[in-house]
Amino acid sequence: MRLSFRAVKQILLLLLIVVLFAAFNGSVYMLLTGRLSNNFSGTDQSKMVDVKKFLPFESESELARIDSSLKLTEDLPVLDGAAALVPVYAAIVDNVYPKGSVVYEGGVFSDDNYYGENFAADSKMQYKNTVRGYRAIVDGETDILFCAAPSSEQKAYADEKGVKLNYVPIGREAFVFFVNQNNPVEDLTVEQIRGIYAGEYTNWSQLGGANRVINPVTRLSGSGSQSAMDAFMGERKIAPKSPLAVVGASIGFSFRYYMEGMVGDEGVKMLSLNGVYPSAKNIRNGSYPIIAEFYAIYREDNENPNIPVLVDWLLSEEGQQIVEESGYVRIN
C-alpha cells in the first residue's frame, strides 16, 4: 500500500505534536522532576533521617556514649524532637534510661507520618520532628522536646491552649546556607543573603557568580530551619519568587550538623558568611555570624519529677559532653 503525500504529511504532523510534548516533558524532568526525592509517594520514599542508625541500646548505633552518673529507673520522661536532634536525645536515652524503655516498630510511612519512623505508644523515645513535635508537647503527649526556637504559629498554638512552655538552651549550632558544589560562589555577606531572599538579587551574576537565575529555596512552614530563617530575616519579608526560578541555580539553608553529619552533603557545599566558614571551631569561637541555640522544651505544669533532674544533667559537664560528642557545640 502506498501512502499519499497528504497522508505522509498528516502522520508527520502527529509525530511532531508527540515529539514536542515529549521534549517539553523531558526538559521538565531533566531540570526539575528528576531532582525531586520526596518522602510522601508510595514508590519513592526517602527518610529525612534514618532513625535506625541512632536507636538507643543497639551496639552498632552511632550514639555518643559516656560513663553517666545519672541513671533513671522510673518516671521516665518521654523524649521527642527534631530530625537534626535525634542523635542528642537518643544518646540521652542510651546513657540514662534503662534498657527496654524504647520500642521501635520500624519505618512505615502513612498519610500523617511523612517521616516513616514509628515507635510504640509507650516507648520513652518518640520521633515526630518539629511540626508535629511542638503540637505533641503542648498536647501533653511528650515530656521533653528537643528543637530549635518555635515559629510564631507554634507559640500561638501554646497560647491558645493556655500552656506555658519552658525553653532551656542546651547547645548551639550554625545556621548554614548551601549551593550546588559546581556553583562558583563560595562566600556571601549576611546582607547579600537577606537580599536574595527579599528578592533584591535575582541572578548570581549580581553577586559575582554565573549568569543564572537564583532559586532561593525555602522549607516547610513551622519546621525548625524555616523558623530559624524567618528569625534571620527579621523585619524583612521573604519575597515570592518567579515560578521559573525553580529551574535556576538554588541556594538553601539548614543546620550544619544535619546536612554534614546526618543526611550527607554530597553534591552541595556550605557557603562562608562574611568570610567565615561554618566549621565547629568557628561556631565555638563565635566568629561564624549565625549561631542558633537549640532547646530542651517542657510544659511548666508537667509534674514529672525527673524533668528538672534530666535538664540539670544536660547542662552539667556530662550532658554537655553528650551534646558535643553528638556533633553539636556545647552551650557552656
Binding site: 504532523l13 525531586l36 526525592s37 522549607r219 538553601g252 543526611v263
Partner: protein, 46 residues
C-alpha cells in the same frame, strides 16, 4: 484520511499529551513541596 477524521485524531493526540503533561506538572509541584532540598540542590545541572 479525510480532513475531519484527521482533525479528530489530532485533537485526541493533543488531549492525551496535554493530560499527561498536566499530570506531570502537578506531580512536580507536589513533589517539590515535599522533597529533600539538599538532594534537589545536589542534583542541579551545571
Amino acid at each position: 484520511m479525510k480532513h475531519r477524521v484527521f482533525l479528530g485524531i489530532v485533537l485526541c493526540v493533543v488531549g492525551i499529551c496535554l493530560a499527561l503533561t498536566v499530570a506531570h506538572l502537578l506531580y512536580a509541584i507536589c513533589a517539590y513541596q515535599h522533597c529533600s532540598i539538599i538532594q534537589f540542590i545536589a542534583k542541579e545541572l551545571w
